[in-house]
């Protein structure tokens, strides 16, 4: 009984280490392949289109909704202490430091991470990745690198867009509904913030972009088992990357705020 339990735990731990090692090797190969030739500009532009331009609506809508809800909660909470003026300051702090990058990261892990896993998974089970190998093309260079580059450029840009939209979401509620002065809101929004906070937000977004692209590609590349495998790859990718976004957010915040 005890031996079976130890055996089962040991198998799971070894399995987890093996998975982590496989991910680390593929991630390392991806970074090493970034500067290899040939450079495929068209492929990269396609990824910018898929990852970036097509994600704008979902990021804008989510940021608007979250910032508006947060403003409603803040206005209600601070009204209890007759401190409504603090609502815009806290709104600014929360959106720039946390909500902007994290909401963007989570939404993109669902939108682009899952798409990457599904696309590469389908390519894997239909032998298209083997066909790339046979055409003397490194799948890591051809498939992983453009997706990684697109994600690490686009996720920070979309985070900036999310922060901008978040400002206007708070404005709609605190100025439009709660009746605060537009001038006061605009100046108070940035009062508790420093340039460091924007830098932290962008660093977080960059790391989230790496996580989304690498996990999505990795899950797709390692797909096996036909249609069932292709079905599981996006789900697994979204769960894994969302988890790592939240975990890395904690450590990045602790590290970068020191």
């Amino acid at each position: 009984m005890v031996l079976t339990l130890i055996d089962s735990i040991g198998t799971r731990v070894l399995g987890a280490i093996e998975l982590a090692g496989d991910f680390a090797v593929l991630a390392g190969r991806t970074f090493a392949a970034i500067f290899k030739r040939p450079f495929d500009g068209k492929n990269l532009m396609n990824q910018f289109q898929a990852v970036g331009v097509n994600s704008i609506p979902v990021v804008v809508l989510t940021s608007l909704a979250v910032s508006m809800v947060f403003a409603v909660q803040l206005a209600f909470g601070f009204r209890q202490f007759q401190a409504e003026g603090l609502a815009s300051q806290v709104e600014g702090l929360a959106i720039v430091r946390e909500l902007g990058p994290v909401i963007t990261g989570l939404m993109l892990s669902g939108r682009i991470g899952s798409a990457m896993a599904a696309e590469l998974g389908t390519m894997q089970v239909t032998e298209q990745i083997d066909a790339l190998e046979c055409l003397a093309t490194d799948p890591i260079h051809y498939l992983f690198v453009p997706r990684l580059l697109a994600a690490i450029v686009v996720v920070p840009l979309l985070t900036v867009a999310s922060i901008y939209v978040g400002f206007w979401g708070g404005y709609l509620i605190l100025v439009g509904v709660e009746g605060q002065s537009a001038f006061v809101y605009s100046s108070e929004f940035y009062k508790l913030l420093a340039f460091r906070d924007v830098r932290i937000a962008l660093i977080k977004a960059l790391v989230f972009g790496m996580i989304i692209a690498l996990v999505g590609c990795w899950k797709g590349y390692r797909t096996s088992g036909g249609a069932e495998g292709v079905g599981n790859a996006p789900t697994s990718s979204v769960v894994t990357s969302s988890l790592w976004i939240l975990i890395s957010d904690f450590f990045l915040t602790k590290l970068l705020l020191v």
Partner: protein, 263 residues
């Protein structure tokens, strides 16, 4: 020296031994057809030759270079001299027929777009697929996909062509068309080919030598004429296409009696 040299090749997946001490030599310009039942390791043999799988023991050498010992750069150089035609074509479904055939040309050759265009048209006309360059793989039938796959494989003018069950799942007419295309490619390009097929008619048309894989081992590798008269019971059963005999591990179900005696 043989162009393709398979030496004492063994490969197992877990407990299942797929290839056991396989030895094959294919000379330059020769056409070898590999026959065998489903699951006897024919595809594993081709994938090992391409370096997609690593052998457990033994090796595959192409022009004297042992595939498993090459680094990625050297392996890619060798692969540029081999064209692989997949069972289900494995066309890139996000690309058009033209982009599929042009893929290797654009990545490996420093040639102008006009030269790419000329070569793609040449390859497509060789397989009887001229005028389909703007179509997506989803708009093609099974036989058309295979032929576009052939065009993509020959685009870089390889020395070796590998065909993995090119006629499986096709109607008899299309099977004959594919057989003729392979024969034409062999004669026009003078390439060395290894073809895996179940279709005996095209196998005897294409082959200079025929090998039969049985339980992971090559039990015969000889000219079509010799193969036909080989007395080995497995070969004779395979040629007859009969369920009765030593070919199957499990005994087949009894034949259904169609005419019962009525009282």
């Amino acid at each position: 020296m043989a162009l393709i040299d398979v030496v004492s090749l063994s490969k197992a997946f877990g407990q299942k031994v797929v290839l056991s001490n396989v030895n094959l030599q294919v000379q330059e310009g020769e056409s070898l057809v590999v026959l065998g039942g489903s699951g006897t390791g024919k595809t594993v043999l081709l994938r090992t030759i391409m370096g997609l799988l690593t052998p457990d023991s033994g090796h595959v050498a192409i022009e004297g270079k042992i595939i498993a010992q090459l680094n990625r750069k050297e392996l890619f150089e060798v692969r540029q001299s081999i064209g692989m035609c997949f069972q289900m074509a494995a066309l890139f479904d996000s690309m058009t027929v033209f982009e599929n055939v042009a893929f290797g040309l654009r990545r490996h050759l420093e040639i102008t777009e006009a030269e790419v265009q000329t070569r793609v048209e040449e390859c497509l006309s060789m397989v009887g697929m001229k005028g389909t360059d703007k179509l997506k793989p989803a708009e093609l039938s099974g036989g058309m996909k295979r032929r576009v796959g052939f065009a993509r494989a020959i685009a870089l003018k390889p020395k070796i062509l590998l065909f993995d069950e090119p006629t499986t799942g096709l109607d008899p007419v299309m099977t004959d068309v594919i057989g003729r295309v392979i024969l034409d490619l062999k004669q026009e390009l003078g390439v060395t080919t290894i073809t895996i097929t179940h279709d005996l008619k095209s196998a005897f048309e294409i082959a200079d030598r025929i090998a039969l894989l049985f339980h992971g081992e090559v039990i015969a590798c000889e000219t079509p004429a010799e193969f036909k008269v080989n007395p080995h019971p497995v070969i004779q059963q395979f040629l007859r296409g009969d369920a009765e005999g030593p070919f199957l591990e499990d005994p087949p179900p009894p034949k259904h009696r169609t005419q019962e005696a009525h009282p």
